[in-house]
Structure formats: C-alpha cells, structure tokens
C-alpha cells in the first residue's frame, strides 16, 4: 500500500490527509496551502524547509510525510498567532533578512535555540545555526537579531 491516511495536529488544528508514502513533509504542507517551509537544497543543509515535529526542528525535505502521523506539526505560519513573536520582531528590528526565502527556517531555529540556550554565546549561535544558509549573506544581522531576541525574551520573563 503506497497511499496512507494520516492524522496529525497541524498548527493547533486536527488534520487528516491522504499521503503517498514517497511524499516528503514539504510537499504535504504545500498541498495544504502552507508555503512557508520550502525545499531549496533538498538535502537538509540549507534549513529553508524547517518544520517542527513534536516541537523538534526537522528538515521537511528529508522527512517522509507519513511519519507525521500522530504527531504535532508546527510551521512558521503558526508563530504569529498572537502577534509577531519576539524572535520575529527581533529579525525585523535587526534587518536580519534580504530575499526572505531562508528566513522562516532561521526564525524557527532561533526559537529552538533560545529554548535550549536562553542566553547564547556567539559560538552557541553560530553552531546552532550552522545548518541554515543565507545566500544573501545576512549572517551579521541574524546574529544581532538572535541577541536582540534573547534580550527581549529575558526581559519578558522578568
């Protein structure tokens, strides 16, 4: 059987879908109208296809869609449910993007980074984000955005 019916939570909504076993997660999301995760390098190296599955970041282009059966899937489109997140605000403030194609991946990874390291060093940031590529070369501004977001999150906590 190459076609399967799966159920999962997509951005807080119970969702069911019929998927072919050979579809990857990005293909499924595009069919569901969510285009914030995009396949670019197709090899899990650039981060444009970042999606959270059970709150853990994965490369959607290397993740078979059947595997999200029974999971909670969160995409970039869910982050501003209650207005722009602090990370998104920081990216705007720091001007941390140019063409914007890689930006959803960087934003999602920054959310993950700050959960793991609330006060990251420059080295932490560079290592954590080393799997996301920005061909426009906006790295210095992204570094700044992560710092701003960390600061804003800290302020929000206290």
């Amino acid at each position: 059987m190459s076609s399967r019916s799966i159920r999962f939570t997509l951005n807080g909504q119970a969702t069911s879908a019929a998927v072919e076993t050979h579809w990857n997660l990005v293909e499924l999301l595009h069919q569901l109208g969510l285009t914030g995760a995009r396949e670019s390098c197709g090899q899990g190296l650039c981060g444009c296809c970042t999606v959270l599955v059970d709150d853990i970041a994965v490369s959607g282009c290397l993740f078979l869609a059947v595997r999200v059966d029974g999971t909670k899937v969160t995409t970039i489109e869910h982050l501003d449910q209650a207005g722009l997140s602090l990370v998104q605000q920081a990216f705007i403030e720091a001007g941390a993007f140019q063409c914007g194609f890689c930006t959803p991946g960087f934003v999602l990874m920054t959310h993950q980074l700050l959960e793991r390291h609330p006060d990251p060093s420059e080295d932490d940031i560079k290592h954590y984000l080393s799997g996301n590529l920005c061909r426009c070369g906006t790295y210095p501004e992204i570094l700044e955005a992560v710092r701003l977001a960390a600061k804003a999150k800290k302020a929000a906590r206290s």
Binding site: Q43, I76, Q98, C99, G100, F101, V107, K126, C136, G137
Partner: protein
C-alpha cells in the same frame, strides 16, 4: 524628517518573517502540469534520435515534448539577449552536459521524474572544448554560425561569422603601450585565473505559464519582466500586449534570473499542452542553467622607477560556456575597466568572450568585475613588492582622481576612489599580531571599480488615489536588495508622505511600465530617477488640481479634499509618470574611446586580515573591512546589509566555491559538494560607507549591490602573501593550494596523486 537616508525596515518585513511572502516557487494553480527535464549526457554532439515512446506510455504522463515539438508554437525557437543562439530545447546539437533535450509533463512531479528516466537519446559525439584559451584555436566549434540578436549595435559585425568560438572580441587602445613598455624602467607580467562558480539563489528558477484567450500569463522568478515579455512575444510572433509577465518576490537573484532562462520553455509547453504548466528547477538543475565565467587574464605593466604605472596591457579570456547569454556584454562593458582604477597613459585591452562546452556563464553580482580586480589588484601588490614600495603608497600614486580620464577617455566624476583607499589604509594600518609558530597572520587590501550599464531605460508610474494614498508601479524586482523600500522612500520624499504608507506594486507588465531589468546595480540610479520623475509629475498634477479648484498657490491642502472639491466625492486618480535614460556616447569600435561611457561609477574596496595554518594550508579570514562609495545611501541599514552580503558571497568564491567538471559533467551539483558560506565561515565584518554624493543620481544616490564584491579575493591573496610570503594566482584559494604553494617554495613539493 527626510525620507532619504532614513533607516526604515523593509516594507515587506512582516510577510517575510511569517513565511507569507510570495515567490514563484510557491505558486500552483488548479489543473496545472508539472515538468521534469531530460538533459544531455554528452558535452558536444549531434542529436541522432530521441526515443520518447516509453516515457509517453508511462503512468501519469500527459505529454513528452522535444525541441522539434517546440517549433509548433515558436517557429524559430532560439533566444538570448546578445545572440539568438540558445534553443528552448536542444535542436540538432547538444552543447553541454545537462542541456535540456526533452520534457515530460504530468500532474504528478514524481511520475514525471520517473518517466524522464525512460527517455533515451542517441548522439553522434563531437570533440568538446572546455578551456577558454584552447577554445580560441580549437577545431571543436561550439556554434557553426554566430547569430547576434541585433539588440546591441557593436555585435553586428559578428553576424554569420563561421568557425570560431569567439563570440565577442572587444578592444580598447589608448596611447601606445609598446612604446611605453620599451621606455619603462620595469615591466611586469602575470597571469591569473578564476574558476567557474554559481549564483545558487536559495529559490531555484520557477515559472508558471498559463494560456488564456489569445493571451499568455507567465508568473516567473525573473529579474527582467519587461525583457521576458519582449522575448516571449518575439518567439511567439505576438504583440507584447498579449503576453503578461508577473513576478512576485525573488528568493535571491544575483544575476541568475536575468533575461530568459526557463520562461520560453514554460511558455511553449503551456501553449502546446493548452494548460497551465510549471517549470521549477531543482538545486541540481541550477548547475546546468547559469554560472559565472571562469577567466584567464594576463596583465602586463610598465612602471617607472619611482612607481608610476605608465602602460598596461590586458588580455582577458571569458569562458562563456555553451551559450552567449549576456556574456558578450560582460566581455565589453566590464572589459573596459580591466586596467583598474588607475591613471595610466597607455592602455591596451583585448577581451574575448569564448564559447565552450561548459554550462553557460552570464551575469553574476559584479558582472565580471571581481574576476578583473582579482588579477589587477594581485598584480598591483606584486609590483609594489618587487619595487619594495608600500602597496598603499603605490596605489595612492596611481589611482584615478576625479576629472582624470579613465582608459575609455571618459573623465572620472563622483568616484570616491581616493576616499575608499584612504579609509582602507586607515582600517588596515597600524601594528597587529603577526602570529607565531605555524599560525601566521597578514593583511592585505584591494580596490576596484565598475561602470554602470548604459544606456538603459526605466519607467515608473505613481498613482495618487482619491483618498490621498499613493501607489507606485514599477518593474524593478525586489529580490532582497530592498528596492521596494528604497523606491517608496524616493516617492515619499517627493510627495512628502511617510515611505511606509506607499504601496509598491512590482513585477507586473500589465500594471507597471517598462524597465530594462533589475541588474548591474542600476535600479537605485535609473529606476530611482524614474520614480522621482513620476512622483514629481504627480506632485505637479496635484498642484495643478489645487489651482484648478481655486486654491491660491502655496496653500497647504489635504489631498483628499482636493479630489472631493474637483469631483464632488471621493473619486478620480492622479497618475504621475516618469521615464529615465541617461546620456551616453558609444565607444569608438577600434579604440573603445568614449566621452561618456557610463552614467556613474561604483567604487569599492576590501581590507582583509587572515591567519594561515602553515601545516595544513588553511586560511582563516579574521576580519574583512568593506568600504564602499554608494553616493548618498537611501536606506543606510539596507545598504550596509547589501555591502556585507556582497562581500560574503565573494568570500565563498574566493575560498571554496568551485564548479567541478569531469568530462563535461558537473560533479558537485549539490550543496553537499558545492559549499557556500555558512555561519561559521563568516569573519568579523566591518562595513564603511564613505561620505560621498552622486551628483547626477536621484537625491545623490547610486547603485550598491555589487560594490563590495570587487576587492575581496585579491585582498585575501595579498594578505596571504603578507602572512606567509607565497602568492596564489588561481581561485579558489583552497587549503590544499596554499599548502602546495608553501611546499613548492620550500622545495618539498607535494605529490600529485589524486
């Protein structure tokens, strides 16, 4: 507050951080067919047969289309901005491994991909040629006949020329170099090479063509919607008004998406299928689509004993690959700056665009200038070292200053070469830690310049709606450089509103007027002028309206009230239009001399500090200082980001990016093996904009997108020599090459086993 010089976040910021910005990549429409391309497996050959039967019979296949089939909708299916040499799908011959030969259409992209594997083509192999120098004398002829498009006057003499791979031979002559060499105290000659590299924007090329009732709409990731419309209309034999080209945001361009790339194919397929068809390339396929020229540049200089360069001879060979694309422009427009930003009495330049059996080369951020600066700034340091002169002092003595004639004879104006050099000298001066043991540090710098492409036209429309809101209609494409925001700022400045209130409608040939293209850092200057003119036109019309409704001159009025007074209700529109084409004097054919060769100059330089691991050859760039003359920055924050971004891209081209070919096949057609800079490759970046003003620019502004790419490569090579005393003359500067150079110098060369 002035809108010019204001750091305003990009207008589309929210859409981009929430993943909701539109890209052609995202687009799908009901009933759409996907495509997968069957590509050539030989570098040069005659097509004997293409067997598509098995593919046609495969599951889910709607159609399989070959080059011959394209002729049913495009009788002469050859395109290109300089030469009409590129077939929509290969016809008669294939000219590189990876050339599109046939296409499978299916509602399912996976089924299309499977069916492609069932296509079989037979070729009669012809000898291929890959090297740009060999190609100039090779018996292997890539194109039997040269077919200039007629777009550019200076290519006309090439029409119908046979049995040559030289698509353009540009020359410039000023003074008498031979005589000057004979009289010079010293003569230096060096050769430098650069490798073929790629743009690889993260959004690969995507185009969706939808046939209508005698019309065709193409949604595409293009930097040049007006050109796409013109070229597709020409191929179809239709008037332009039946072709619409719509471009959302681009996920990066860098020159990869100029002119026609996949649009002709998508258009032909849509018309053949009678359905919407999407052509979306994979990352691998970008490697077969467009690249940056590999080059060989031999440069020879005559120098007096006190360090004045009195003569320079430049021979530049551009490896254009299988199709001309815009390469002939690169060879000419860039070629005339090959002698560098120096005041040299006697200059001779020969610049050759050469066909080979590699994937096509075209425009990439800098339009060939970084390849030239690599050579002339490495050469400059080599001369200074040989003459025991301080490299900065040597440059100071020779740079072109305002008012002095450049090699074309055009007098320099508003080119802050001196300021850029002085700022770099300051940043890189002083003492620093030179390292110890096997780790050695050094510093180097380099400067470069570029002429803007000319003469080209931009048009803009500004609508003032009856509620006073303003919309700007332009075909400049925002591919990340921030043009929407900058253009809104220019319009807002004229119309005295906040830029964030201006709506920018971009990339739609049905709505916005002609623009030559978003390329060559031309938009801020050319479209900036057009927008300014359009906004001024709208302002004049508003004033006229005010006068018409009886308001005394100089009255402060609310625009909304003005419309109400005139039309009795909230109604009406004021349309301001602007068109701009700079003045230009074409160069004299034999000497390249012109009194007005460019509307403005871009000037940039880089200072690098490197640390070299002498045991492994690894080069770590510790610091890059990028200094640019951008005129007056419209949006300083965005300009600075562009400057450091450009330098980062060139850093990749300098240290590791390299398109590797084996038997014509690109063997590293993926990000696993073609490495672009990531977070951990980025040095400390310093960005400096010198205090400058482009008098002829809109509000003193000029282009900036390419400026920071110029000096990066030679600054690093110069810093490496400063650190360890060896000179690298070929890009990329890999760790292995550095170690080999060190070992060669020490008389213990590394073996050559693979």
């Amino acid at each position: 507050m002035s809108e010019i010089g204001r750091t305003l976040p990009r207008l589309e910021s929210r859409a981009k951080v929430t993943g909701r910005a539109d890209y052609a990549h995202n687009l799908r429409v009901p009933g759409m067919l996907w495509t997968k391309i069957f590509r050539s497996t030989v570098a040069h050959g005659r097509i004997v047969s293409i067997d598509t039967e098995a593919a046609k019979a495969a599951e889910g296949v709607f159609a399989v289309v070959t080059g011959e089939d394209i002729k049913s909708v495009m009788p002469e299916p050859y395109f290109g901005p300089a030469f009409h040499d590129q077939p929509v799908l290969a016809l008669d011959k294939v000219r590189f491994v990876g050339e599109p030969v046939a296409v499978v259409l299916s509602h399912d992209t996976h089924l299309a991909e499977q069916a492609v594997q069932l296509i079989a083509a037979e070729y009669e192999e012809l000898p291929p040629v890959f090297d740009e120098i060999e190609a100039t004398t090779s018996q292997a002829i890539v194109h039997e006949t040269l077919k200039p498009a007629g777009t550019f006057a200076d290519l006309k003499h090439l029409a119908g020329r046979k049995n040559t791979n030289i698509a353009l031979d540009y020359q410039l002559r000023r003074g008498d170099v031979e005589k000057a060499f004979a009289a010079a105290d010293h003569v230096f000659e060096h050769s430098f090479r650069t490798q073929q590299v790629l743009h690889v924007p993260l959004e690969s090329h995507a185009a969706l063509a939808e046939p209508g009732n005698g019309t065709l709409t193409i949604h595409t990731s293009s930097q040049t919607p007006s050109f796409v419309r013109m070229e597709i209309a020409r191929l179809l034999g239709w008037p332009e008004n039946r072709v619409s080209v719509k471009v959302p945001f681009l996920g990066g361009g860098f020159g990869a998406k100029v002119y026609v790339k996949i649009e002709a194919l998508a258009s032909a397929l849509a018309l053949i299928a009678g359905k919407p068809v999407k052509v979306a390339l994979s990352m691998e396929e970008q490697f077969y689509t467009i690249s940056k020229h590999a080059t060989t540049f031999t440069i020879k200089s005559g120098v007096t004993k006190d360090g004045r360069v009195v003569a320079r001879k430049c021979d530049v060979y551009w490896n254009g690959g299988a199709y001309a694309d815009i390469g002939p422009r690169v060879a000419q427009k860039t070629g005339f700056t090959a002698a560098g930003p120096y005041d040299i009495e006697n200059v001779s330049i020969d610049s050759y665009e050469v066909y080979t059996n590699r994937p096509t080369a075209g425009a990439l951020r800098g339009f060939g200038v970084p390849q030239l600066v690599w050579a002339y700034e490495s050469h400059t340091d080599l001369i200074a070292r040989a003459l025991n002169l301080d490299p900065i002092e040597f440059r100071r003595k020779n740079i072109l200053r305002d008012g002095r004639p450049q090699a074309t004879g055009t007098a320099m104006k508003d080119a802050a070469i001196d300021k850029v050099l002085e700022r770099l000298a300051e940043a890189m001066g002083g003492t620093f830690d030179r390292g110890s043991g096997g780790m050695r540090r050094g510093r180097g710098l380099a400067i470069g310049f570029k002429a803007s492409i000319s003469p080209t036209t931009s048009c803009a429309t500004v609508n003032v709606n009856a509620d006073g809101s303003i919309a700007l209609y332009i075909n400049t494409i925002d591919m990340g450089q921030g043009s929407d925001t900058a253009m809104a700022q220019i319009a807002a400045e004229v119309l005295n509103v906040g830029a964030e209130t201006v709506r920018v409608v971009h990339g739609d040939t049905d709505l916005a007027p002609y623009d030559m293209g978003t390329l060559g850092s031309r938009s801020t200057f050319h479209m900036g002028h057009a927008v300014k003119l359009a906004a001024e036109d709208a302002r004049a019309k508003l004033r006229a309206l005010a006068a018409e409704v009886g308001l005394p001159k100089g009255t402060n009025y609310d625009i909304k009230e003005l419309f109400k007074k005139r039309y009795g209700m909230q109604a009406g529109t004021i349309v301001g239009t602007g068109a701009y084409v700079p003045s230009y004097a074409p160069p004299e054919a034999k000497t390249g001399q012109s009194a007005n060769v460019t509307p403005f100059w871009m000037v940039g330089g880089t200072g690098a500090e490197v640390e070299v691991d002498t045991e492994t050859g690894h080069v770590r760039v510790v610091k890059l200082v990028n200094v640019a003359d951008v005129g007056r920055p419209v949006n300083p924050k965005i300009v600075r980001t562009q400057v450091s971004g450009g330098a980062t891209m060139q850093l990749g081209f300098t240290l590791h990016e390299n398109m590797v070919l084996d038997g014509g096949q690109v063997t590293n057609a993926s990000f696993a093996d073609y490495k672009i800079p990531g977070f951990r490759d980025i040095p400390l970046m310093e960005t400096e904009l010198v205090d400058a003003e482009q008098e002829s620019g809109p509000f003193g502004a000029k282009g900036v997108g390419e400026t920071a790419t110029f000096g990066v490569s030679p600054a690093i090579a110069n810093a490496i020599e400063d650190a360890i005393g060896v000179r690298l003359t070929e890009l990329p500067i890999t760790a292995e090459r550095v170690l080999r150079a060190l070992r060669d110098r020490d008389g213990h060369p590394l073996g050559d086993d693979e």
